[in-house]
Symmetry: D2
């Protein structure tokens, strides 16, 4: 993913202002890999399609057919980029990896699209990365000083150069050497001539699962699949085998799956927000059903912040399971009071003032019949900037709701994420700057409640948040950053100095 400290200044493109602020935090990337399957690239495209929610900006696949690597990358959805049989025919082989990139509103460089690829002395190597390296900029400066030439503005490229300059002889040793020098979060799929490789950082921040397809190739040997979530195993007919463990590297080739644990052990820090919003409801991540987790969170939320009302209405689509849980626990009927329009494209007519005041209505509309004259409990998963929430509340009131009570299935989002999620700066986070009472007023609701931090942990089967035995990263709710933030600290040390070499501004984005 982009080096966040600089990505703003790199961009030459003035992106069109989006009609309204995107409310949600954005997952940054999904990864996939397959070994030993006929049509490996097609399976990878399917897997990436199932992981589309983890990144809609761009996508790419690198395949290997035993002789040559081939690649195709493009801006847009998987179904837009891989929409031609000739493209798929250009990606032959039984091994492939792929990557989805997250949606930004700003500049987009084709050369940043993953998987990244390099010709090393020992042959080609491709890597796809979900997460964020927190010392990438520091590493980049050292590598440039040494004579390395960077082509992208992604943190992942630092990893590639570390591999290139490593003194170890084989690719796995070089990768381990490189990974030992990086800090931060990563779930990686990589492809060399010898193996499909998966790796997960020692804290296990981002998910990575292993699956298996029997009879996916003409040989009687099984195919192996790596993916960010189990939903990508399902779509290719792969059976879920297990999670890749925090700190584990798996080397997959015709000899099977070999597991290495080259790092010293660290505490688990699985991103708790994957359960709240990022992962797909039909996925298992880190061994647990996302859908179930969300319903349980909704139930806990109902217990913590019950209120008398006529209907429980989710903000679709992400608020649906927790609203169902809330309804079950409270006994208040669940109704589809807000309809989501899925036909919305990436760009649309820019509004005049006349149109703009019509508000948020492109993506959501109200089902007046359900809301008119009712006391409404509105269930959503999180509040980031609050812009969309305010408009939704307005819509619900305009549809005739007599009371609007907002219930949020996460604690207040008060801190930015530096481990692979695109959150706004703290100054833009509503909960970082306002009390819950102030927020209720700003959003125009009659009452507002968030699930408590302990309640969230209880819903996930713990006794509450226990800093000694905590297995999740909850930094966005607590500011408790347990992985070191090297670049960020360096940046604040340097903040009075001018920026280092500005990157090339590409007019065309090529």
């Amino acid at each position: 993913m982009p080096i966040s400290s600089h990505s703003g200044s790199i961009s030459g493109n003035d992106a069109p202002t989006p009609w309204y602020d995107e409310e949600k935090q954005q997952e940054e990337c999904g990864v996939f890999g397959v070994w030993n399957a006929t049509d490996a690239a097609a399976l990878t495209a399917l897997g990436l399609h199932a992981l589309q929610h983890r990144g809609q900006e761009a996508t790419g696949i690198v395949a290997y057919d035993g002789k040559a690597f081939s690649a195709h990358k493009g801006l847009g959805l998987v179904s837009d980029v891989f929409n031609d049989t000739r493209i798929m025919a250009g990606l032959p082989g039984h091994m492939a990896i792929g990557h989805n990139r997250y949606a930004t509103t700003g500049a987009t460089l084709v050369r940043n699209i993953q998987p990244l690829y390099a010709d090393f002395e020992f042959g080609g190597f491709a890597v796809a990365h979900n997460g964020n390296l927190t010392n990438a900029e520091t590493l980049r400066k050292a590598l440039v000083r040494r004579g390395c030439i960077f082509q992208s503005t992604t943190d992942t490229e630092a990893l590639i150069h570390l591999i290139a300059v490593s003194l170890y002889a084989n690719v796995v040793d070089r990768l381990i050497d490189a990974l030992k020098q990086v800090e931060g979060a990563y779930s990686i799929t990589a492809l060399s001539k010898e193996a499909l490789i998966g790796a997960r950082d020692p804290n296990g921040v981002r998910p990575l699962v292993l699956g298996k397809i029997e009879n996916a190739s003409p040989h009687s040997t099984p195919a192996w699949v790596l993916a960010s979530e189990t939903c990508a195993l399902d779509i290719v007919g792969a059976e879920f085998v297990r999670d890749i463990e925090p700190g584990e590297i798996v080397i997959i080739n015709d000899a099977g799956v070999r597991s290495l644990m080259p790092f010293s052990e660290k505490q688990r820090r699985f991103c708790i927000f994957e359960y709240i919003y990022f992962a797909r409801p039909d996925s298992l991540v880190d061994g647990r059903s996302v859908y179930n987790a969300r319903k349980l969170i909704g139930q806990e939320l109902a217990r913590e912040s019950a209120i008398e009302a006529d209907v429980v209405v989710p903000v679709p689509d992400s608020g649906v399971p927790s609203a169902m849980g809330y309804s079950t626990e409270s006994g208040i009927p669940f109704e589809l009071g807000i309809i989501r329009n899925h036909y919305i494209g990436r760009t649309f007519i820019e509004p005049t003032d006349q149109i703009r005041h019509l508000g948020v209505k492109l993506k959501h509309s109200t089902n007046k019949n359900v809301l008119n004259g009712k006391r409404v409990i509105l269930v959503d998963d999180s509040i980031v900037r609050g812009t969309t929430s305010r408009k939704i509340v307005e819509m619900v009131r305009a549809a005739g709701a007599t009371e609007v009570h907002m219930r949020i299935s996460s604690p207040p989002t008060t801190h930015s994420c530096f481990y692979g999620i695109d959150t706004p700066e703290r100054s833009k986070l509503l909960a970082a700057n306002h009390t819950v009472e102030e927020m209720a007023k700003l959003l125009g609701v009659d009452s507002l409640a968030f699930i408590s931090l302990d309640g969230l942990y209880r819903a996930l089967g713990e006794h509450g948040r226990d800093i000694e035995n905590m297995r999740y990263c909850d930094a966005c709710f607590t500011g408790y950053y347990s992985l070191p933030l090297v670049d960020k600290e360096e940046e604040s040390r340097q903040s009075q100095l001018p920026l280092s070499a500005p990157f090339l501004k590409q007019v065309s984005g090529l």
Copy 2:
């Protein structure tokens, strides 16, 4: 919409075979119109966006600024075609109409995109049409014989030529003259220099509603809006005024709304399928909430065909409200056992055999956690070909369901629609060729039940189907075609003769 009898032979384009048969019948078109609003074209684009479910193939807007008409049309979604401020700036004026065209899998001609426009002696005239004229081909032949040159392959163009050759002096008289010569279903918005015009056929098959926006223009006069459904009024902030009546023509200009009833009265025949599937759940059509209707149908379905089970699972998105009704009535928990992927583009990688056997999984995936070990009631709105249903059942079983009971919130679809819906020929309709028992076997379910025809009418507040006082068209369930099928009868008379003049085959689709 296209003249169905010929559209196959016109097409020069070999459309890519879709990955799997599209299960649903497709609504053919949505219409919109606005008079006296600043940014009329932008409001029209918003309205068309809200009506996107009624047609995703192509879209167009014609605007009038008191001096000149301007037009923009294109293939694709509203948000793709109207995505540029320069395009909107090219559509100035306070009056505009617009049209969405349905999605076909075959050829697509730019010159077929509506609104259609013609320069008449008295000035420009544009028309947008939802429905299907059942004597269009017969009229076309007579008009060509008279010297008219057709440019599109749509039924709507016959209407334009009837207006052109009418001997009446003004545009409204000419339109009435023309409408008196056509048969079939139509809800129309039209624009001349003098007025925005709305018209609905005497049987009122397709919906058309009237709305009003106070303060939409610098003058203190209100803006008037015509739209297929109320959801398009909501998005532009218009208040619902009333339905346009069957057989009514409304002439809207600065003098207000003038209503004409120039046709002899006929029985109401509102399309009952609008409630089952076509219309958006948050719309009122023909005076009734679509969402409520669907929940009531689900409840009636539960009463008619109760069965013991563990979960009620909708086939998303259209099956959700009736599944909720089913769950409420039966007391069996409602669960999201099937997840719909909304990122699917129009085209995607064409599968090899290896991939093809993976089945329907691009659009839907199963939430195993909810289905595994459960007796599942699967609720869907209709079965057309059955292809998708069979694959969904397979998926649900593969996810571990021990029993699958399918419940359909419409009677068996046994006949084609000739009034504005794209249904396959009867030979392809599963229910036209199989008993319910056979269908259950083919779909692989443990039981299958459709709502009864009387049950459907009961859910809509009638005492059952009463052919004397019936206010709906239910021809697709009964073959009871109450509007004459002129072309179809002519065609069967002529079927041994060679086809009339073949239309020009356009390589490019321009």
Copy 3:
């Protein structure tokens, strides 16, 4: 070609201002047709390529395979529009016609691209037209009043409607009926199910030639070709048979070539400018070699306006043959003192003031070595606005020429053409508003001379211009318009009235 009186107001597109005024008058269209050849569409594309100089804006082909007509049209050069085997495969059959459209700087409508096509009662009919109908607007008004709907803004569409409403039974009689009602210049190729048809107006203003290919089809019968110029016969390996005569209609089918002369005889008025500039040097038109004619004109010019100098330098490419003639006659050496850059695209960077003052240098550059210190005779074919000429003179002086004498191989262009050439209005024609002395001053030359009108006729083998026996149209030099200008006269009668129905403004140009 476009109806000139209205085309300005139709256009919604703001065309980019070209860097400098295009100096030359522009030929408006080339036509081609072939009967009985394997790959008729490919031969037509080749023929249109050879005729590319007659129109670079757009091009189209309609083919017929005995069962159906197929068409492909597009904006741009022939080699850009017909650049795909799939396009050619979509144009099957042994018969085809094609059309090149001229380059304008303004709006361009896809629906204006020829061949125009219509489905008549008796079947499909396509027509391609070079020339300009001088009563098209008058006819259009009458036809619209009758109920005809026009789709394009071309004069040629009037012809199509006249055929559609004709009461004659067969297509040839209808075409003759229609042609009898039109005034102005036309060379036409048309295609029906029964025949390839060629027609030339009774004055024979535009060229049209007949050719023959032996063994172009599997049958032993020859293929017949119609084309604007013989260079299009050469490229397809066709032998030149003869010119189509003024007022002649040829009906070509398997029975051979049938000739009709349905019009009363008129005086020949072949466009004399075809020899001066429009036609390709390697063509024969109206029975004479264009290259030879130009060299003879150059010789006559040298005789009429001899001057002492060191080099004769053509303005390339069109001035080359007359400069060669001038050099031969005068004995002054011919040198390539100006080089033309053929890589120039249609659009280019829009200049800032800084760049703009650099002048005309995108298309032409000087060969300083040849010009420095020399007395230069600059030979060009015509002066329209004079803008380019002035810049060329500047360049030549900047390259070191001590004297610049300009010699023009046509008389002064003082009048607009209404018979198929795109000339500016008279107010923009330099020679219409200035004496030769004034022009010399404005262009910055030491002397300026045009060939005399009599000299031009002498070079073409006449004794001089003889109004009694004149076989050429020379209206652009004399204002002697021998074909009636119906629309133009009507327009001046109506000039105080408001314009008739404004045409639809298409934002996209589709």
Copy 4:
């Protein structure tokens, strides 16, 4: 330019087979640079336009505004790639360099388009290169072994990495360090924050000229321009100052032009083919007028191989000046017997067999009137494969020529170029495998003569070829390769070993 030894295997794209073999050798690249001019990027675009004949495949510009570097690159002609004011506005600054790439028929990678750019420790650096490094592949292997990651498949990238890993402190010293390690031909323009840099290899194989524009910026200081040929100075209004000398490096900044001569002196080896075909006739290169040189060569050719005939006909456009010289010397009239069609696009309809036998006629056509019944001397500049020549001879005979005598203004092309020209392998060079008599037979001419090697030197003002004092590279005629061919020798040593790491195959060419 591409590393020729590998470029075949890199390409994933199957380029469309061109209709006929491209006869000429292709120049590989033109370079341009400007310092201290308002609109530096626009001037660069103009300069590249004038140098378009040196490369039509792709083009790029890097500009610097004192704060940031910006770039735009694209496939196609300069006028296609830089056709938008927004693109030019995205390239601000008073300094810029640019590059044209040659046309290949094979794969084309966007990442290969120059100028190449890198962020070094000391800031941004861009380089544009004309020529060919003959040890690039050897250097690449060593650099990859050291940990460098290559992104393009061009020889020029080796230079960039040599600069990156150089231990010198400033950019000029690093560039000199790098250039001392490369072998082969280069004329370079480069841009850093401190200076515009020009460099020419010690043998001076490719041209590079220095020009000056007074008053090109708001300051009273002049702008400095570097370009491959003087025609690019002319178009921007720059005055020719001098050639950059072989082995010279010029450092241009606000302090003026500083000259360094860091290499040991070598013999001049200016490419003699620049005079015969590559350079534009209106250019001075290496101090001599190209147009004059060609006319003198034509005269020498006429003296060496006189023959009785009726007309001298050039193969346009490149054969024109030498044909003029031939005509002058022989007294036989010069006639345009072959016309070149400049409207030909890059791609065109792929022919069926029926069409293919029509031959070469897309680009050339005959002017029968001039050839019929005549004894023709056909003058061309060179024969590479002979394919086009044979077809031209056929055309000339088909036009009625009674005798065809071919005269070539270069000696037989018997060897490939490794210094920056795209020649076919020797096995495809007609003259490498046939005697002149055999060639005459194969081409179907009555006689064939090439200018002698001594004659060519005489025409250029020498006494003949003198190997002791030779100032030209004539390896393509002699095989006398005076610059070392390191990669080629390495390759033949390694030819039994497998190829090194295959590069990534990009489906899309991105």
